[in-house]
Every structure is written in C-alpha cells, then in structure tokens.
Symmetry: D2
Amino acid sequence: MRKPVIGVVGTSNDSSPAVDVALKLGKLIALEGWIVLSGGRDAGVMRAVSRGAKEVPGSLTIGILPSQSSDVAPDIDVAIVTDLHNARNNVITLSSDVVIACGIEGPGTTSEIALALKNNKRVIVIGATEAARTFFEEVAGGKLIHVKTPEEAIQALLAVFTGGRRK
Amino acid sequence: MRKPVIGVVGTSNDSSPAVDVALKLGKLIALEGWIVLSGGRDAGVMRAVSRGAKEVPGSLTIGILPSQSSDVAPDIDVAIVTDLHNARNNVITLSSDVVIACGIEGPGTTSEIALALKNNKRVIVIGATEAARTFFEEVAGGKLIHVKTPEEAIQALLAVFTGGRRK
Amino acid sequence: MRKPVIGVVGTSNDSSPAVDVALKLGKLIALEGWIVLSGGRDAGVMRAVSRGAKEVPGSLTIGILPSQSSDVAPDIDVAIVTDLHNARNNVITLSSDVVIACGIEGPGTTSEIALALKNNKRVIVIGATEAARTFFEEVAGGKLIHVKTPEEAIQALLAVFTGGRRK
Amino acid sequence: MRKPVIGVVGTSNDSSPAVDVALKLGKLIALEGWIVLSGGRDAGVMRAVSRGAKEVPGSLTIGILPSQSSDVAPDIDVAIVTDLHNARNNVITLSSDVVIACGIEGPGTTSEIALALKNNKRVIVIGATEAARTFFEEVAGGKLIHVKTPEEAIQALLAVFTGGRRK
C-alpha cells in the first residue's frame, strides 16, 4: 500500500505570501505521513513546501523538474528530471493523489489546476480570489475545493480520503 | 520563410455554438494562406476548424493528436501523433505562432490558454465570458486579446503580425 | 485520405556520407507524393532530407523540433515545436507511417529505431553495418528491412504499402 | 545532499533470467543506501528490482509509469505517472545518476540505453551479448561499462561515484 502523494503547486515568486502558506502546508502534510510532491525548483512555493516537509523526521519530498538544467530545491529528496519543460506540469498532476494550489497567481499554476481537473484529480485551492472561484465554477462546475488556510487544506484532504475518493 | 501557423483550440463538445465559430474561423485562416493547427481529434472545434480550412483549395491542416488510438478528424492533412495525452496541449501551443480559443468551456481549453501564456505566445479568445476575462486579467495582466467573432479574430491576427510580434 | 508520412532519421553530423543519402532520399520520397518528416534541425540528415524534398514542387516537409531554441532547417514547411528534448524522438516515430534510417551512427538514431520498433512501426535502414544488423536481429527478430540505397528504400516502401502493412 | 538514484531497466518478460539478476541487483543497490528507480510496471525486471530493494529496511523504490492505466509493481514506494507511454523511457534515464541494464532483450531496453547515452549518462550493462557489445562500441565508442553479475555492477557503480563522474 503506497503512501498518499500530495502535489503542491503555486508561484515561483519568492516574495509572494503563498510561500509562507506552502512552508506550513508542507510540514502539515508530512506530519500526516504523506509524501510531498512539487515542481522541485529552487524557488517560491516549490522550495518552501519541501522545506516545510523536511522539518518532519522521516518525511519524503519528490520534485518533478522541467529541465536537466533546473536548480533543484535543497530539501528535495528525489529529483525526477523530465526535460519536458511546461509539459511536466501534467506529470505533477498525474503523479498526485490530490493537488493543492497555494493561490493562483499566474498561468503556470492555472495550467496545473486545469490539467489536474482534466485528469480527474481532486484539487484544493487555498485562498482563491473571487475571480478565480467564479471562473473555475464556470469551467469545472464545483470540482474545486476552496479553503483559506493550510490547516483547512489538511481537513479537506482527510475528507477526500475518508470519502473514498482517493484515486 | 515558413507560413504562419495558427493554433485553434476549444471544446470537443459537438453541440457547442463554438463549433460554428470554428468552422468559419478555419475557412478565414485558410483564406489568408495560413496553416491551421489543432488538437486533431474527430470532435467539436477540432473537427470543425479543419473542415472549414479545407473548403479553401491549397489549405493545410495539422492535427496534434493525444494518443495512437485517437480518431483523427477527416479534414486533417498531417496527423502528428504524440502519445503524450494531455501534455500534448503544450505541443499545440509551442507549435503555433498565435493561439485562438473558440470560447473557454472546460479545463482542457483553460490549460491550453494557460500553457500558451506560459510559453509567451499571443492568445486571442473569441467570446470569453465576463468571468474568464476577469480571471485571466488577474493571472496574465492584459496578455489576452478579446474579440467577439471569427472576423475580428482575423483582424487581431493581422494586427499581431503587422506589429512584428510574430514569434 | 491522408498522404503517407515517411519519417527520416540519421546523424546531425554534416560531414557524414549519410547526408548525401538523405538529400537523394528526400527527393525520391517527395516524387512519390509522400510527406517527409524529420527531426527538423538545421544539421546533417535533417537538413538534407528536407532540402531534397523541396526540390520537388508541391512537396511537404514537417520537422519535429526538440526545443523552442532549436534552429529550424531552412526547407522545413511546418515546424512542430515539442520542448520534449530527446523524448521528441518518440513523436517522430509515432507520426510516421514508416521510418527510414540513413545509417545508424550514434545513440540518437539508435533510440529512434528502437522506439519505432517498440511502437510497431516498419523501419527501413539504409546501409546498416554488419554489427547493427546482427544486434537488431537479436532484439527485434527480422523486423528491420535492410537496403543499400535510397532507390532501394523507395522500393521497400512501395512493398510495405502494397502489402497493406501501412499503419 | 540527495542519495544517488540508480535506474534499472530490462525486459518485462517474467520468464527471462534477467528477472533473477534484477532481484539480486535491487537488494544490493538498497544495501548501499541508494534509491532504486525503474519503469514501475508489475512485470519482469521492473517488478523484480523493486522487490529485491524492499527486502532492505529503509530502502526507497521509485517507478516511472508509462500510463495512468499501468499496473504498478507491488514494491514501488512512489509511482510517478507520466502518461508519456514510450517517451517515459527518457524520463527514466534523465532521473537516474547511472543506468543499469539487466541484459538487452528487446527494443524497449535498447531505447533506454540509447537515450541514456544521448543524455550523457553512465550506463552499465549486465551480461550483454557479443552482438550488443559490438554494436554499442560502434555507436557509442566505449561509453558502456560491461559486467557479468549484479555484484560486479555494484563495483562498477562504486568506481563511477569514486571517479567523481556522478552527474
């Protein structure tokens, strides 16, 4: 029985408030004994979520890198190098049991949420704007789970797994 | 000097009004002497845009197929078979000089627009809803070009090319 | 009914004798009215095969490029940009009805032949060495078709198509 | 500092002698504290190498799966689902510090060795036939390391890492 893999996506901008959210979220996911998967680069949400996870002894962090020349975040345990560039976003979603977005600040995260939905994955968004909620309600009819904090995201994950919807 | 390649994306739903838009758009693109590139499957916008293009003698239609087992639309001249499934959406955007979306009805088209923006491609959307406009303004700050009809899309394409922004 | 697509692979080394073979082969394929597909870069067999094809009026050349930053050969009509790097070799084989290798000089061409066989494509090799013949006989039991010249490759292609084995 | 990742490739044929080689090899790699990466499917060398590794407490096994519908080997700890089909072979090689082939029995393994060489990875082959040795000498001039047993493969790995050639 494999451990659940939680994909965490979000901005590569180091000065976004999403970075602190990701740091906290990574730790909380690891405390549940789940694996943290991200885009693996040494920037923004990718770096923070793996750093948070590695505060927990025995945690495991996987990075799905776009390119052979990408800088890998220091707290990534296993670097999967795809050389697929932006198409690696699809591999992130396919390899995750559930995808969590720490906000939606740019087209990269937007593509990851859209691909996750297209691949029939559950998606949790922390702190979506009103515009994002309205848009995704229109294109994906209620499939996104909206929460405000990392703690609420963990509760939502537990509900997904309890509901037998892990896939 | 290669001919411009116009990527056209949109729903695979055959009963969407976007199908008629795509049929008209395909013909107009071909009349300009440009190449029509799409997802290539025998459904919805993909089938319609290549059908419209092939009403014009000498036109060329390229389909970027997700899988070896995909049904190819009858008016596709060259089928590029990727076996990349949803990651083929990235190849569609990278191979296009400009991407035109015939509406945004689901997560597939959303992913294509987002990947196009991530790849620094110009994107024209025909008939975006208010919610879509607001959301993409938020994540991509004015990079989408909004129009209402296929004819206006052609005018926008001509403006892009004249502006020297073909890339 | 789509025209047959012939994938041509081989070295990117401009000083290989395979370059002259590819130039001749491209012209002969185009004279049959078939589409020439290659790796699309401005080097070696890729450049030569599209140049040969474009000596024939009405011919069509497709290039499957590894990267957004690849230089495209001047005689490519349609550049499919994959950003998949070496994984684009798989797309070359999947998009071809038959694959022809102009010799086997390095690991790139080896990977293309192997992927073509794995994808159940017919593969014709022009001028394989004895070592290559023996090895591929061992791993693919008689599936390669060996010929010595571009003219013989065309005869082999015609036999494949007549035999109803186009797929 | 990430642990070395050893990619192990080979036939999916359950009755090949390579299966016993892979079982032993997986255990030996895990005993060194290295991560075992494979194609992840529930067949042949992929299943055996992860089974061997999991005999060692604290070991870690990664599977790079071709498709969402692939059966995952029972001893895989983390399943990376690519939906790239045969193009996932490139991801296997890129994500490995060194690739070890348990024999070369078909075009799949051939493609993995060729892609690994193309990506400038060190490749160790256990029990290559004379034909395979001669062919790869021709296309890759001495870049393959040939050994006869799993124990010798570990010695070769240690020599690679000591030689500072890990990349």
